[in-house]
């Protein structure tokens, strides 16, 4: 390999006499055969790399950043989510797989009603997660999303998650706990934005 400055030139194959060719054939076949035989004898323990999926479900380790399912961030199913229905993610989505329905909430402000996310149209490009000004969205990595009916691929993200933040106010009785707002109860903006 002639290497001057930073150019490597590919070597040509040397022309061989017939005996030289036979010798080279034997040598090359031996090299190739030995390298596969090595895998044959190591095959039982070391070199089989097939992951037998259903059997190794408990042992599988998926990267936590793997984007498989869009979710609204919340500590548990009943704790509040941070989405305020501002539709930024709907605009940035390249192929319109997010649709936000918002309505006037209890505290007379625009609230999220339904967060419709179509898994079948989504290309997992992560634009919505970064674009969200309130960091309300994230991708979880449970990749088993196969269903038997296309209609099941249309998710409503906030159906199980609790009401939006603005439905709560600081509970004066107990330290750092929250209590549900009563309908038509007036509340100041700072108190809403102050929470989580």
């Amino acid at each position: 390999m002639k290497e001057h400055a930073n150019i490597i030139v590919a070597p040509r194959i040397k022309p061989e006499s017939t005996i030289g060719f036979i010798y080279k054939t034997v040598l090359s076949l031996k090299g190739g055969l030995m390298s596969t035989l090595k895998y044959f004898f190591k095959s039982v323990f070391v070199s089989t790399i097939t992951m037998e999926y259903p059997e190794n479900k408990h042992r599988i380790k998926i990267a936590d950043r793997f984007r498989a399912k869009l979710v609204l961030i919340s500590k548990n199913l009943s704790s509040p989510h941070k989405c305020t229905g501002c539709k930024v993610c709907e605009k940035t989505c390249p192929n319109k797989s997010i649709y936000i329905m918002s309505h006037k909430g209890i505290s007379q402000k625009i609230e999220l009603k339904n967060f419709i996310w179509r898994l079948d149209a989504c290309t997992f490009c992560n634009a919505c997660v970064i674009a969200c000004p309130f960091d309300a969205l994230t991708f979880k990595n449970n990749f088993e999303q196969a269903v038997y009916d296309r209609r099941l691929l249309i998710y409503n993200l906030n159906r199980y998650i609790g009401p939006p933040q603005s439905y709560f106010k600081k509970n004066t009785a107990k330290e750092n706990s929250v209590v549900l707002l009563k309908p038509y109860e007036k509340i100041s903006l700072q108190e809403i934005l102050g929470k989580c």
Binding site: I13, T25, I49
Partner: protein, 385 residues
């Protein structure tokens, strides 16, 4: 002023009927669904016995009209569309579009972003070359290299998956930075991988390059001389095999390629053997690049401009090109100041590498055509866009 519009049927009917003895010419469809057409590429071959007289590539089976979609999609969203073109170097495609936008708005990016981008471009190049090597072995008839190539690619994909969040269509490089910062164990795992892959490439050599059958089937097959290669507009390993040391990583030196020592690999005769050997050597060069970069990744933010800032390119034409695993990918943007591009065009390396086959493979046999197609390393969704 002679303009005659032709259709495929007119071409197919001018068979050579004069020959009454000997094998007659006949047409055969190495059709869109063929084991060695790497996608939906269709050749209509005019054969005489087993000798190819003429090749007519027919495209369009996976034409999604990405350039038409590009006109109604914002700049940031077009980046993730390019993943779907050449899906073996999707990060490098994202980098091409992001670089065009950054040059147009002269957004600056810090050193950390540039080094991460270069590392991932080289990782993507190794992934695409190991995948290519496996498929090359299978095209020549040996089924085992396919699994060895995929196994090495799989270890790298799991490393990339941890940082970029997805395995094939990463959408990782955005205008103004990268999606996530690199994972904490990324550097350790990449060093492990480099130690793992180096002996593997020696094994690749032993299994395929030293093999006499392969040498006999690739030497002096599909010769593309220097002038022909230039006039056929082929770039990347196909052009370098004919002896032209054109590598944008050296000439254009974007990213941190100027701070890294690596060599451009060129061939002498431009036949299938040179194209094969160049890609094996390029894998080693990419490993060297990653090794030099991975130790000292400078600190800094991984995303300079906020993602939600609107991108509006001023009126005019912008063009930038980048070296993918298969050649030069050029992004040409004509913008009229609106939010989405007025016209965006991708100069796809595979589209221009494909056409030299019509001149190379005439007079050879079917198995030579299969070897040439797999040394050209074509990705058909990138040809049809």
């Amino acid at each position: 002023m002679t303009i005659q519009l032709k259709t495929l049927n007119e071409i197919l009917h001018n068979l050579d009927e004069k020959k009454h003895w000997g094998t007659k010419e006949y047409f055969i469809n190495m059709g869109p669904q063929h084991p060695s057409s790497h996608g939906v590429l269709r050749f209509v071959l005019k054969l005489e016995g087993e000798i190819i007289k003429e090749i007519i590539p027919i495209l369009g089976y996976i034409h999604r009209g990405i350039e038409k979609i590009g006109e109604s999609v914002s700049y940031r969203n077009f980046v993730h569309l390019t993943d779907r073109c050449d899906y073996f170097s999707s990060i490098i495609n994202n980098w091409a579009v992001s670089r065009t936008i950054e040059q147009a708005l002269n957004m600056e990016t810090n050193d950390r972003i540039e080094t991460i981008r270069t590392i991932f471009a080289e990782i993507q190049r190794i992934q695409s070359h190991t995948m290519w090597w496996g498929v090359f072995g299978m095209d020549l008839g040996a089924f085992t290299p396919f699994f060895y190539g995929f196994r090495d690619r799989e270890f790298l994909t799991s490393i990339v998956e941890e940082t970029c969040g997805s395995r094939l269509t990463m959408n990782y490089i955005q205008p103004g930075g990268v999606l996530y910062d690199i994972k904490s164990n990324f550097i350790k795992r990449i060093k492990q991988y480099i130690k793992y892959l180096r002996p593997r490439i020696e094994e690749y050599e032993r299994l395929i390059s030293d093999n006499v059958i392969v040498q006999k089937r690739t030497e002096n097959i599909g010769i593309l001389t220097k002038e022909k290669a230039l006039s056929f507009g082929s770039t990347g390993p196909v052009l370098r095999a004919s002896g032209v040391p054109l590598d944008l990583r050296k000439n254009d030196s974007y990213g941190v390629y100027d701070k890294v020592k690596f060599s451009v690999v060129i061939g002498t005769k431009g036949d299938s053997w040179d194209r094969y050997w160049i890609r094996i050597e390029e894998m080693r060069q990419s490993l060297n690049i990653i090794e030099q970069l991975v130790d000292n990744i400078p600190a800094g933010k991984h995303m300079v401009t906020k993602y939600t800032t609107k991108i509006k390119l001023p009126v005019g034409y912008y063009q930038s090109s980048i070296e993918t695993a298969r050649g030069i990918l050029g992004i040409f943007v004509a913008s009229n100041g609106m939010e989405n591009p007025y016209r965006i065009h991708m100069r796809s390396p595979n589209y221009n590498n494909l056409w030299s086959i019509t001149d190379m493979a005439v007079g050879l046999k079917i198995s030579d055509l299969v070897t040439i197609v797999s040394t050209l390393d074509l990705i058909i969704p990138d040809v049809d866009r």
